[in-house]
């Protein structure tokens, strides 16, 4: 029938079990099997590598080895390292040029006011010691 012919056009009939492969197709099929197997091996390897990398990345995010993660503000707690606090910042970024000392690290509890003035072209540094304030820690 025209209809049946039309439906079967372009289709390859299924082989019966035990039918031999037509000559020339065996090698092609073997090659494609090999290619598919090779592809799946590569896919599996890529998946394994990807999964491993993702696991390592997640582990690093969850348990930072040294300095805590940056950014979180907190006056009452939290362990985040402040921005730029993971050691030395690169020098010469965009900060201004500051020549005079802005603070003194000294024996705790010593209250010092350091004032720098320029008098007649000379830098005069004044340090005044104050009595401790009313609170302590």
């Amino acid at each position: 029938m025209n209809t049946d012919r039309g439906q079967n056009e372009g289709r390859v009939p299924l082989r019966e079990l035990g039918d031999a492969d037509p000559p020339g197709r065996t090698r092609g099929r073997r090659d494609s099997f090999r290619k598919a197997r090779r592809m799946s091996n590569w896919t599996a390897a890529a998946l394994m590598v990807g999964t491993g990398a993702a696991a390592v990345a997640l582990a690093h995010q969850s348990f930072p080895a040294a300095a805590p993660a940056a950014g979180a503000a907190g006056q009452t707690g939290g362990t985040a390292t402040p921005a730029g606090r993971t050691g030395a910042n690169p020098q010469g970024t965009s900060g201004p040029s500051v020549t005079h000392s802005v603070a003194t690290t000294t024996a705790s509890g010593v209250t010092v006011t350091t004032t720098t003035r320029t008098v007649n072209g000379k830098t005069v540094v004044t340090q005044v010691r104050h009595a401790p304030a009313s609170a302590d820690n």
């Binding site: 500051v98 603070a103 705790s108 609170a135």
Partner: protein, 349 residues
């Protein structure tokens, strides 16, 4: 359990400080028994920065001061031991103190409080009677930091054990303050905060770093001369036996107590400055070095911390790349021991 009457406290006003550079704004005020100083750039951020630091200092004082009757720590002490649910802020401060004790091999120990009290440091330092004829009582070694347990916000304090967070609290305060300032300024520019000479910086530093003077007491005459260093990140803190001194029975005492003996540390160093990634690390390491004495050299070297140790004869020893040349940057090593340790023990989240 007693009720706590809230105390109204009024923060001292900030005062602008002229340093000679207009590109940074500097202000300071009395706080925590010493001076708080803030330096920021751009200068327009100063108001916001001071407000942020105010909040941090008020919170820290309320949480961790052993001299305020209404502080959370005083409330724990008054309860006389037990298991407490404490605030996140105090949990962090205690967690850091315990982690510092573990890191320093017990050279800093928050349970040293009773030893300090028995020596006479039982109130705000300004209120201590500077000289008394009677000698101090027999020394009382610290009970030991390992007796204190912290699991998240749950603190177990054995009966009779009181805490002094002095070896780390100012460092924690400086760390929190720079964090709060950077948050308040939208991470713009850079900031330096000093609490009694324990200095932390954050954000973008000035070119070549924040210029910081390393010194002993300003009234100290003789060697060594103050040194100017540059801080490009992290923190620097100084501990010294040359201040906070008082006399009992003809003996000069000071506030850095060896937890093992309960006596003021009597090692070879009178002042130690340490640079580290965080101010709490630097603060703890500097105090531990005073207590550790000669062993501090190998410990600081092993930890890779830049340090400047001043002996009682004024001789200076530099370790870990601490610059010999004035104006040079300090090579701060990344990584924190005390915050990481506190987090592991659940004391900081």
């Amino acid at each position: 359990m007693r009720a706590i009457a809230p105390t109204l406290t009024c923060a001292a006003p900030w005062r602008r400080v002229a340093t000679g550079d207009d590109v940074v704004a500097v202000a300071e005020r009395a706080a925590l028994g010493t001076t708080a100083r803030v330096a920021v750039w751009p200068p327009a951020s100063l108001g916001v920065a001071c407000a942020a630091v105010d909040d941090v200092l008020a919170a820290l004082d309320q949480q961790a001061s052993r001299f305020r009757e209404d502080s959370e720590l005083s409330w724990l002490h008054a309860a006389g031991g037990g298991i407490f649910m404490i605030s996140d802020g105090l949990a962090e401060a205690v967690g850091v103190a315990l982690a510092a004790a573990r890191w320093t091999g017990g050279r800093t120990d928050p349970t040293v409080c009773d030893a300090l009290i028995s020596l006479g440091y039982d109130r705000d330092f300004a209120a201590i009677e500077q000289q008394r004829d009677e000698p101090p009582p027999a020394p009382a070694p610290a009970p030991g930091w390992h007796l204190v347990r912290l699991d998240g916000p749950l603190l177990r304090l054995p009966p009779g054990v009181r805490l002094d967070l002095g070896a780390t609290a100012k460092g924690v305060g400086s760390d929190r303050a720079v964090r709060a300032v950077m948050s308040a300024t939208g991470q713009a520019g850079g900031v330096l905060v000093s609490l009694g000479g324990d200095i932390a910086v954050a954000g973008t530093p000035p070119r070549a770093g924040w210029p910081v003077t390393v010194a002993e007491a300003p009234y100290h005459a003789g060697p060594p001369q103050p040194q100017l260093v540059r801080l490009t990140g992290g923190a620097v803190a100084t501990s010294s036996v040359t201040c906070r001194q008082w006399r009992r029975g003809g003996t000069t005492l000071h506030h850095i107590v060896d937890p093992c003996t309960g006596r003021p540390a009597d090692g070879p160093w009178r002042t130690v400055s340490v640079a580290a990634a965080t101010c709490a690390d630097a603060n703890a390491a500097a105090t531990a070095a005073i207590v550790a004495g000669w062993r501090a050299v190998s410990w600081l070297t092993r930890e890779g911390l830049p340090a400047r140790l001043v002996g009682h004869n004024g001789e200076v020893r530099r370790l870990g790349g601490w610059p010999a040349v004035s104006g040079s940057p300090i090579p701060v090593v990344p990584g924190t021991h005390v915050y990481a340790g506190a987090r592991r023990s659940g004391g900081a989240r």
